[in-house]
Symmetry: C2
Subunit: 248 residues, 2 copies
Amino acid sequence: MEVQVAVAKVAKYATSESGDTVEMVERPLGGLSFVMADGQRSGRSAKAISNLVARKAISLLAEGVRDGAAARAAHDYLYTYRGGKVLATLNIVSIDMVSRTIVLSRNSHCPILIVTDEGTRVLDKPSRPVGVHRRTKPLVAELSLQPPTTVVLFTDGLLDAGQRYGGSLDILAAVQSLCDEQGRTAQSIADQLLAQALQLDQGRAGDDISILVLTVRTRCRNGELAPFSNTDVRRLSVTFPLPPVIIR
Amino acid sequence: MEVQVAVAKVAKYATSESGDTVEMVERPLGGLSFVMADGQRSGRSAKAISNLVARKAISLLAEGVRDGAAARAAHDYLYTYRGGKVLATLNIVSIDMVSRTIVLSRNSHCPILIVTDEGTRVLDKPSRPVGVHRRTKPLVAELSLQPPTTVVLFTDGLLDAGQRYGGSLDILAAVQSLCDEQGRTAQSIADQLLAQALQLDQGRAGDDISILVLTVRTRCRNGELAPFSNTDVRRLSVTFPLPPVIIR
């Protein structure tokens, strides 16, 4: 059995920096956690907020704090620090090797999609962002870690893609159709969803977009490492473009 | 221009957990940092040490602390916490968008290899691990962020691969020959080095092995996202096998 987690992320067109933050950390008792935060507005001020929230959650998760408590703490921290005036959405996705479950914590109006062989679930119960309402709690869902499972999370740039041009992405249909294609990696699902959104936005993202895809599959061939397919190799790959130097 | 960072990582054969820790964090002023730590011995006790060291370094880097200071602090922390009795190797690799440089901090007997179009550099000046000698400092090197550059770091499992069978990997030659091949991604370089090491270890790693490869290249085609090649998409992908459930 193999878990893949992939992220594809763009900034709003013509802004220097995405206001979204996605961070990853190893859980001290086994497994990994991913934190996705979207700060209010866009650009540098949004980035400062999402970074603050993500950093607080990550540092607690790294110390073994449970996900729900880390989300509450991130809320309390932002609420205290900015006097309840600034909001952020916050999602935490954990692969917890102690409980052998996927733990999904949601403080966002964006739904989370889950596709298994039993069908598709949409986690879209109303949920508050962090930072503005006292005692905000996340909605937490837990799934057993078994193949085939695909979980898709995103920030609202994906929800609103194409809006300026009167279009919109049917995210549920897009995810279902990608899950039906054999052999799609988590990265190719994330990339394909982002490509469809950029298409609707005519190549210029109307907002920051971040997409996180988690898949649980029976083991597949592993490129160069195929001859050692019994060996438990962990792999991490990060790709990012370098902005050109701006000469002032 | 595009930066790729890839990690391939296996545990010593027949241990449940690698004693190495590799973590990633976004730098608050722009860019990313990667921390690779190898704790003394192997298995769970080594993991606890490498995790402690990596977590300290990561949390400081996330707050904007400079790399050399983060490495010194990680040393001081381990030295204080374990009374100078336990050691770990520690490498920090940063893509610093303020200085537009790659910053390499090294507290390890393992060399760092750098391949550019000017040739190959080997950073192998004697350097102490963290945790055991008072006032240990890292060796820090800084490179400008320009293509083509490949940087390869690893823990000593790669250095010692094949030792039990009287073989050893010529890492420098292997890296140079991989860099000569057009179109190799950072992940495929890391995977190929790991595959060669596992071959020498007859498929059963004699020690924990972690390999980190950083490449700076002119932009290449991006799969699903190719039609939007002007769009600055960041991507992260993590793959890891799930150990089978052990029923006691």
